[in-house]
Symmetry: C2
Subunit: 661 residues, 2 copies
C-alpha cells in the first residue's frame, strides 16, 4: 500500500499554472470536534470556510478560470480540460449503497468523509463530486443533502439553497419549452395555413421572407432545401413547415417547479377565457425540476456543443402521424441553450476540512440516472492528476444508481471506473435480514437499537451479497464501507467485515460522521490498496444494439434477480413506437423503487424469481435514454402536515440561518 509519506516525496510541477499541480498544498481546516455530535447546521456554522478563490489556487485553477459567486462558491471554466489535456487523470471512484432504509444510510456523508480522509489526512489530491440538492425536499421533509456530522460540504445553507442558480436556470428553460408547446398548438388551431406561415416567417422591409437558422433546420428535416426567400415555398411545403400537428395525447414534456407541490401532480391548463376554454383545456402535470430531462442532459453532456445537440433532439410528443416532434421543431433550441449556458460550468465548494468539492447537476435517481455531471468528473480527474482520486456518487441503491452510473453515465463519458465504494449500515442489514419495517418519523424498533447478530448475518447473506455480486459483474473492485452508528456493537461490525471478505471484497468500518476524515482513513487506505493492486477491467452489462426488451430483461434478471418481465399494453405500444422512430439503440434507465432490489418496496433482502412489471416506457431522447416505469413513480413530492419549514428562520441582524436543513 502506498502511504502518505511516499506521496509527499513525489515531484511537484514547477510551472503550476499551466501544468496543474502534482501534489496540492492545501490549507486544511480543523473543525473543533464536540461531543455529543451537535446538529449538522451547528457543525457547519462553527467552521468558517476558506475564501473559495484561495482553495481554487491551491488546486491549480487559474484566476481567469474561476467565476466567483460570493465568497464561498464559484463556477469553474471547462477550458481547464483543454489546458490539462496532457495530464493523466486520477483514479475514478463511485460511491454506491446497498438497498437503503427510508432513512438513508449515509452515502453523501461517506463521500465527503472519504475525500476528507484521502485529501486532508493522506495528502492525496482528491475531489468529491456530488449532486446539487432539490429545494423541494429541503423545505419539505428531508432537510439538506450536504452530508452530515463532521463530513459535510460548507457553507451548508449555500449548498442547500440556490447555489449558483443552475436548477433555477433549468426550471426556466424547461418551462419555456412547455409554454412554447401549448402556445404553438393554440396558434395552429386558431389560424389558417396561410396566416400561420405568414406569421412564422414574416416579410422583411424588402418583402422577402427570411428563415431563421432553426427554421432552416426544420425544412432540412422535412427533406426540403431551405430557400433564400421562403416566398418560393409551395403551398404544400408551407403547410408541412408550419404545422407541427402535435397530438396532445402524446405530449410527454411537463412543466417543472423546484417545490414540493402535490396539487400540481395533475392539473388542467387552458381554463382562461382568452384560451377559449374548454376547447384547449388539457390535463398535464408539474414534475419536480430535478426530475426533468434538461437536468439529465446537464448531467450527461460533455460540452456546450453537445448540450445544444441534445436539446435539439428532445422529443416532446408525436405528431398525428406518429413522427417525433422535437424541441428544434418548436424553435427553442438556442433559447434553451442560452438560458442554460452557465449551468455547464461545475460549482466549486469545500468540505468541512477544506478540501475541494464539485457540486454539479442533480438528476433524480428514479426517472433519471441519479448521478452528478460527467463534466465535473472530467474536470476533477484532470485537476487531481495521476496520483489523485475523484470520488463521485450514484444515487439510490446500487441496483439502480450503480447500474445506471456504469451503463449510462460511463457509456456517455467514456470514463472507466477504478473502484466501487459500497456503503452499508448495520441498520439496513438488519432490515434486510428480517427486521421490522423502518418508517421515517416513527421511533426505531428495538431490533435496531440492540445487538442482533442473526439479523445482521441474514442481511449480509441476502442484500449485501447480491449488491457486491452486481458490482463484480462490471469487473470493478469493491470496497465496502460500513458506516458506523453509535448503536452498532463490535461483534456486529466484525461480522459484516468477515462477510464482505467471504463475498470477495474488502470491508472496512468507518466513523466519519463523528470523526470527519480521520474516521474514514481506513477506508481510504483500503481504496488506495484496491486501486493499486487491482486493475479495473470494466465492461458494460449490455451492448446498445440489443433490442429494448433484451436490455430491460438483462437488467431485470441479472441485477434485480427477477425471473421474468411483464409488459403492460401501453409499454408494448411504446416499445413498438420508439423502435419504429429509431430510438431502440438508447441505453435503459429503469424507474424503480430504491427500497427493494425488486419493484415492490416491501420485498427486502434479495428476492428472486419475481415478475417485474413494466407499466410504461418513456423517452428522454436528448439526455439519451429510454425509461421504463416499474409501477407508479412519483415525480412530484408533497408537503406533510408539518413540513420542516416551520423551523427554518434567519436572524435579521446576524443573518444566521437556523432550522433543520
Amino acid at each position: 500500500m502506498e502511504t502518505a509519506t511516499n506521496l509527499l516525496s513525489h515531484p511537484v510541477d514547477t510551472v503550476m499554472g499551466t501544468l496543474g499541480l502534482d501534489t496540492w498544498n492545501i490549507k486544511k481546516l480543523n473543525p473543533k470536534f464536540v461531543r455529543p455530535v451537535p446538529k449538522d447546521i451547528e457543525i457547519a456554522r462553527s467552521q468558517k470556510p476558506k475564501p473559495i478563490n484561495e482553495l481554487s489556487q491551491e488546486i491549480g485553477i487559474l484566476p481567469e478560470e474561476l467565476e466567483l459567486y460570493g465568497p464561498s462558491k464559484a463556477k469553474v471554466s471547462l477550458k481547464i480540460i483543454e489546458r490539462l489535456a496532457h495530464k493523466k487523470p486520477g483514479k475514478y471512484v463511485v460511491v454506491v449503497g446497498i438497498t437503503p432504509t427510508p432513512l438513508g444510510e449515509g452515502k453523501s456523508t461517506t463521500t465527503i468523509g472519504l475525500v476528507q480522509a484521502l485529501c486532508a489526512h493522506l495528502n492525496r489530491n482528491t475531489f468529491a463530486v456530488v449532486r446539487q440538492p432539490s429545494q423541494g425536499p429541503t423545505f419539505g421533509i428531508k432537510g439538506g443533502a450536504a452530508g452530515g456530522g463532521y463530513s459535510q460540504v460548507i457553507p451548508m445553507e449555500e449548498f442547500n439553497l440556490h447555489l449558483t442558480g443552475d436548477i433555477h436556470a433549468i426550471t426556466a428553460a424547461n418551462n419555456l419549452l412547455a409554454a412554447a408547446i401549448d402556445a404553438r398548438m393554440f396558434h395552429e388551431n386558431t389560424q389558417s395555413d396561410e396566416a400561420l406561415f405568414n406569421r412564422l416567417v414574416p416579410k422583411n422591409k424588402e418583402g422577402k421572407r427570411i428563415l431563421s437558422e432553426i427554421q432552416k433546420r426544420r425544412l432540412v428535416r422535412l427533406g426540403i432545401t431551405p430557400p433564400e426567400d421562403a416566398n418560393s415555398l409551395s403551398t404544400e411545403e408551407r403547410k408541412r413547415f408550419s404545422r407541427l400537428n402535435i397530438d396532445p395525447s402524446t405530449i410527454t414534456w411537463y412543466r417543472v417547479i423546484d417545490t414540493n407541490d402535490r396539487f400540481l401532480r395533475a392539473i388542467e391548463v387552458g381554463h382562461g377565457s382568452q384560451e377559449k376554454a374548454p376547447k384547449f383545456v388539457r390535463q398535464t402535470e408539474f414534475t419536480i425540476t430535478v426530475g426533468s430531462e434538461l437536468m439529465a442532459i446537464l448531467a450527461l453532456t460533455t460540452d456546450l456543443r453537445d448540450m445544444k445537440e441534445r436539446i435539439a433532439k428532445i422529443v416532446i410528443a408525436s405528431d398525428k402521424e406518429g413522427n417525433p416532434v422535437t424541441a428544434d421543431d418548436l424553435g427553442v433550441t438556442g433559447a434553451i441553450a442560452v438560458l442554460m449556458k452557465d449551468t455547464v460550468k461545475p460549482n466549486l465548494m469545500q468540505t468541512l476540512e477544506g478540501t475541494p468539492v464539485f457540486v454539479h447537476a442533480g438528476p433524480f435517481a428514479n426517472i433519471a440516472h441519479g448521478a452528478s455531471s460527467i463534466l465535473a468528473d472530467k474536470l476533477a480527474l484532470k485537476l487531481v492528476g495521476e496520483n489523485g482520486f475523484v470520488v463521485t456518487e450514484a444515487g439510490f441503491g446500487a441496483d439502480i444508481g450503480m447500474e445506471k452510473f456504469f451503463n449510462i453515465k460511463c457509456r456517455y463519458s467514456g470514463l472507466v471506473p477504478d473502484a466501487v465504494v459500497m456503503v452499508a449500515t448495520v441498520r439496513a442489514l438488519k432490515m434486510h435480514g428480517g427486521g421490522p419495517a423502518v418508517v421515517a418519523g416513527n421511533p426505531l424498533p428495538h431490533e435496531y437499537l440492540n445487538p442482533n447478530l442473526d439479523l445482521v448475518r441474514a442481511g449480509c447473506d441476502s442484500n449485501l451479497k447480491k449488491q457486491i455480486e452486481n458490482a463484480q459483474k462490471f469487473n470493478v473492485p469493491v470496497v465496502v464501507c460500513i458506516n458506523r452508528f453509535s448503536t452498532d456493537s463490535q461483534e456486529e461490525l466484525d461480522l459484516v467485515v468477515a462477510k464482505v471478505k467471504e463475498f470477495g471484497a474488502e470491508g472496512v468500518v468507518a466513523n466519519h460522521w463523528a470523526e470527519g476524515g480521520k474516521g474514514a482513513v481506513d477506508v481510504a487506505h483500503a481504496l488506495i490498496d484496491a486501486t493499486t493492486k487491482t486493475k479495473s477491467d470494466f465492461k458494460f452489462l449490455y451492448p446498445l444494439e440489443k433490442s429494448i426488451k433484451e436490455k430491460i430483461e438483462t437488467i431485470a434478471k441479472e441485477i434485480y434477480g427477477a425471473g421474468s418481465v411483464a409488459y403492460d399494453e401501453l409499454a408494448e405500444k411504446k416499445i413498438q413506437l420508439y423502435t419504429n422512430q429509431g430510438y431502440s439503440h438508447l441505453p435503459i434507465c429503469m424507474a424503480k423503487t430504491q427500497l427493494s432490489l425488486s419493484h415492490d418496496p416491501n420485498l427486502k433482502g434479495a428476492p428472486t424469481g419475481f415478475t417485474l412489471p413494466i407499466r410504461d416506457i418513456r423517452i428522454s431522447a436528448g439526455a439519451g435514454f429510454l425509461f421504463p416505469l416499474c409501477g407508479d413513480m412519483t415525480t412530484m413530492p408533497g408537503l406533510g402536515t408539518r413540513p420542516c419549514f416551520f423551523d427554518i428562520d434567519i436572524d435579521p441582524d446576524t443573518e444566521i440561518i437556523d432550522g433543520h436543513f
Copy 2:
C-alpha cells in the same frame, strides 16, 4: 449652474475606504460610435465591460462589501448604508414618461443616457437605478430592457438573463407559500382535530409538545399565551390553533413563473389521484413572477428585518369567518426570508460608458408599483454623496408610475425627490394629438414619419400638459427630456421645447440613443440647474388616514382627470372587507392601463369627465398597499405565433449570444 470644473476642485476624502469618495475617479469606457447605429446587442457586445470589482473600488465600495457573481455582476452589502451614515445623500431624480405608444418612448434608454452624461461627461458622481427585467417578455416579444443604442447596461445578456438569481429566488419563495396553502387545506380536510394538532406539534423524546417560534406567534395572535408544553392547551385551543379554516374562494395567493405561459392563466389544480380528486380540485392561476407581492416587498423593503415583517403580514385569503389568514399563520415566514436573503442586496453593473448601475427588483407597474428598490436608491444616494445624483426609474406613464413612486415608494422610504425627468417623444405626442393608432409589429403610419406640427401641438396641449401638471401637484421641479428620433424635424422639436416652457417646466432635446452620454449633456445641465435653483417642496397627494374610496377618488380625479368613480359590487364588498379587517390605512396602487390617462387604452390625449370603473380591489398587505383593478389586467403575458426565441442562439465555441434581446 454648477459646472464640471467646479466639481473637480471639490476636496476629495483622503480616507476613501471609510468615508466614501467625494468625487469619483472613474475610468470611462469609450464605445466606438458606428453609423448607422447597429443593433443593440451588437453595440453591447462591442464594448468590453470593466471588471466589476474595479468599478466598485472606483466608487468607494470596500472589497468586503462586494460579492462577485462572475466578472461583471456583483451584489453589494447593505452595511454600506451604515458605514456612510454620516454622509449627506445626493440628489434624487426620477425618470417618468408621458403616456406612451405601445412601442415605448425610451425611458430606460433616457435613464442610462442621462447618467452617462452626468457621470462620464460632467464628472458628477451618478448612479442609475433600474429594474431587473422579467425573462417572460425577453423570450416572448419585447426583447431586453437594458436600454438601447449607445445608452445601455452591459453586458446586456447578463442583465437580461438570470442576473444574480433574485427573480428565481422570488419564484421559489412564492411557490413554497402556494404549495403550503393547498397542502394545509388538504391536511385540514383529511384529518381529525386531534390528528392534525398531534402532527403539527409532535411529541419530543420527553413526551413534550414544543411549539416552534412561528407557532407561538400564531397562538399570541389568537390571544392564547404560548405554553412551554403544548400538551397543556385545551381541546378548543388546539382546534383554533390547528385549523386555519381557509375559505378556498377567497384565496388571492397565486403561483408564479417567470415565463410567458398563457395556458397557466387559469388552471385547475388537484386532479391527482392522491389528492382525491375531484374533492379538492380548485381553479387558480399562475402570475408572472414580477407581478407577485414578494417582488413588490423586495422593492419596498428597507432591510432584512423589515422584509421578514412584511412577509409575515402577507394575507393569502380569509378564513370562513372573514378574518385574514397570513403567511405567518401557515408557518413559512422564516423559510421565505431564507429563500430571499440574498435578494435584498442590490446588483451592481455598469453602463456602456463605465458608470455604475444598480439593477434591483422589478415589480410590474400595473398590479404592483413599478419601481426599482428603495434599498438600491438609498445605497446609491450614500455612495454618490452630497454633490452626486441618483437617477431612478418609474415604470409606465407618469399618471401611474410617477404617482405610485411618490405616494407609495417615497412614503415607505422617507426619501424626498429633487426632480422629475419626464420623457416625451414627438411620436407619442402626435398620437395624443390625434394621429392614427400605433400598433406593435405593424409599420408606422406616414403621420409619424413626416413632420406634422398640428398633431405635435395638440399632443403637447393635452397629454404632455396634463402629465407635467400632475408632477407639479407634488411640488417637484420637472425637466422634460425630448427623446429624439431620426424622423423628428427641428420645427417639431422646437415646438415641444416652447410648449414645455409654457407649461412651467424646462424642455431639452436629447440624442443619447445615437450619441450616448454626450447626447444627453444638455438634459444633464438642465437637471443640475433645476435641482440647484429650485428646492423641492415635496408633498403627497393624499394622507393615509382618508378612506379607501376617498384615496381612489383623489387619484382618479386629480391625476387621471376622471369625473367620477364607479364601483362594481365585488369592489364594494372588498372595500368593506378590508376596512373591517383594518387595512383601510394602506396607500392605493391603481392597476390601470398605461396606454391612456383613463382606463380605456383608446382614449389618447387628456380625456376628462369619464367614469373610472373599479372592478375589484385586492390587497398586498405585506408589500403595504391595496390595488383596485380598473378593468381587466393581464397578469400573465402570452407567446405569439413567432416568439423572439426563434432568433436566439449561442455559438458553442465563442459563447457569443445572438438574437433580438
